[in-house]
């Protein structure tokens, strides 16, 4: 019976150990940031594979989410005779919540898992070890550019998602469902506050970008260098990122919008 407690204790210690390793790893990444900034080539290459290649996924998802929001919102709001508020509803949902969160989840699935797999594979084929022996710091050369690229790409992608979503809502709401065009935008403009809503949404996406990219590169770097180990690390990235995003979203929402 005490076996359960023992295993619980062991896994808690294991979690703490990983957290500690992850934190040390993050500090190493931050320390090598200056060296990456003087070599923009590394950063740009990574921004391409992380940001640009996620572009179509995010834009298409954003469009559909916006359109569905308009569709669903319209039917609910008509019960209260409040169709005119459709613009606000779509925009508020996207800017405050769906933009950062859904983009974060998609990002974790597409870019995060790719990062983990790539780094894990480099570890398994001894490329990271080889670099160390060639007196090149693998963290500065491989990890930090990817971290920075993820950190920059996430807010850009989230903003794109939100904008396209609002446009999608416009197409459905005004184009299909016949809501007044002027009303759609003007209600939105009067109710969506730049500081309160847009800036906070941006802050959320930066936080998510930080956390997801950190988890992705850490899992890759820490992976067991076998094919099974890499595949498990990739799964962990997606799962842990999802938990982290949803948890942080709750905390940030409570802090930011708590006294609305």
């Amino acid at each position: 019976m005490f076996d359960i407690f023992q295993r619980l204790g062991a896994s808690t210690l294991g979690i703490l150990e990983r957290l500690g390793r992850g934190a040390t790893f993050l500090i190493n990444i931050l320390i090598s940031l200056p060296t990456v900034l003087v070599r923009p080539r590394l950063l740009i290459t990574q921004m391409f594979s992380i940001g640009v290649l996620s572009f179509s996924l995010i834009v298409i998802s954003g469009l559909f989410v916006g359109m569905v929001l308009a569709l669903q919102g319209f039917y609910t709001l008509s019960d209260f005779g409040a169709e005119g508020m459709l613009g606000v509803m779509v925009a508020a949902s996207l800017v405050r919540e769906l933009g950062p969160v859904v983009t974060g989840l998609l990002f974790a699935g597409r870019a995060g898992s790719a990062l983990t797999a790539e780094i894990g594979l480099m570890k398994a084929t001894e490329q990271l070890s080889g670099m160390e022996m060639m007196a090149v710091d693998p963290v500065a050369r491989i990890i930090t550019p990817r971290f920075l690229a993820g950190l920059i790409s996430m807010p850009l992608l989230a903003t794109l998602f939100t904008s396209v979503g609002v446009l999608g809502g416009y197409f459905i709401g005004v184009g299909l469902l016949g809501i007044d065009e002027g009303g759609y935008w003007s209600q939105m403009q009067s109710k969506i506050d730049f500081h309160q809503d847009i800036m906070n949404g941006l802050i959320k996406s930066v936080v998510f970008g930080w956390v997801v990219t950190w988890i992705a590169v850490f899992e890759g770097y820490d992976a067991i260098p076998t094919s099974e180990g890499v595949s498990r690390a990739t799964t962990r990235t997606v799962v842990h990122s999802a938990f982290a995003i949803l948890l942080l979203d709750f905390i940030l929402t409570a802090l930011m919008f708590g006294d609305v």
Partner: protein
Amino acid sequence: MTDTASLIKIRDVHFSRGSKLIFDGINMDIHRGKVTAIMGPSGTGKTTLLKLIGGQLVPSAGSIEVDGQNIHQLKHKQLYQLRKRMGMLFQSGALLTDITVFDNVAFPLREHTNLSESMIRHLVLMKLQAVGLRGARDLMPAELSGGMARRVALARAIALDPMMIMYDEPFTGQDPISLGVLVQLIKQLNDALGLSSIVVSHDVKETCLIADYVYLVSGGKVVEHGSPEQLTNSDSQWSQQFMKGMADGPVPFHYEAKDYVEDLLGLQS
């Protein structure tokens, strides 16, 4: 063998991985300008030894001196400086898979020197010529055979003109021709460039062709050492079994098991 002739001095090194004791007080001298072979059965931690020498792993006791410096007491910067003078050839080549052969060999030059691109191009072509792969410079690592990948890795290892090269199982899984090429390259480079080479392997035949000195390692200690001829004619039964590749001897053929007849007849022992 005077002290200055030893490039690397390994003294009383102990190392464990988890609960498994890998090295139990091992002593070795790697001499300058010579090809030193470290041989032993699989799993004795020969690769671990290379990582200890390179400073990637830290022994729990004992010391390793490389060119007069205790490698585990060096600060980060000094360690990296020392590593630039050490070349290492990994078992799989460990080439960076997302860049061409040319860029792989140019990698250490671009990272550690401020040489112009044209100078780098000259150096890279020279190194590739030395291993016979100058024409393959625009291929990607995925397009190379195992033997070619190792040769490219070798060209990369000598890019900064190091003072020594460590070879981790260079002969494993190679076809006879690649084998012949590699053996020849290791010896030629060692002599032509005045390098000191450490070859970790369990391919007795190939290694003895080029080794000047051999260490036989087993059970975490040096079992015997000497020139290849000395070891082939050694008195130790174990060394004899290893060098000649005999199926049975001090290292038994049968894994520990019950008496055969009893096992077959299902009798309790």
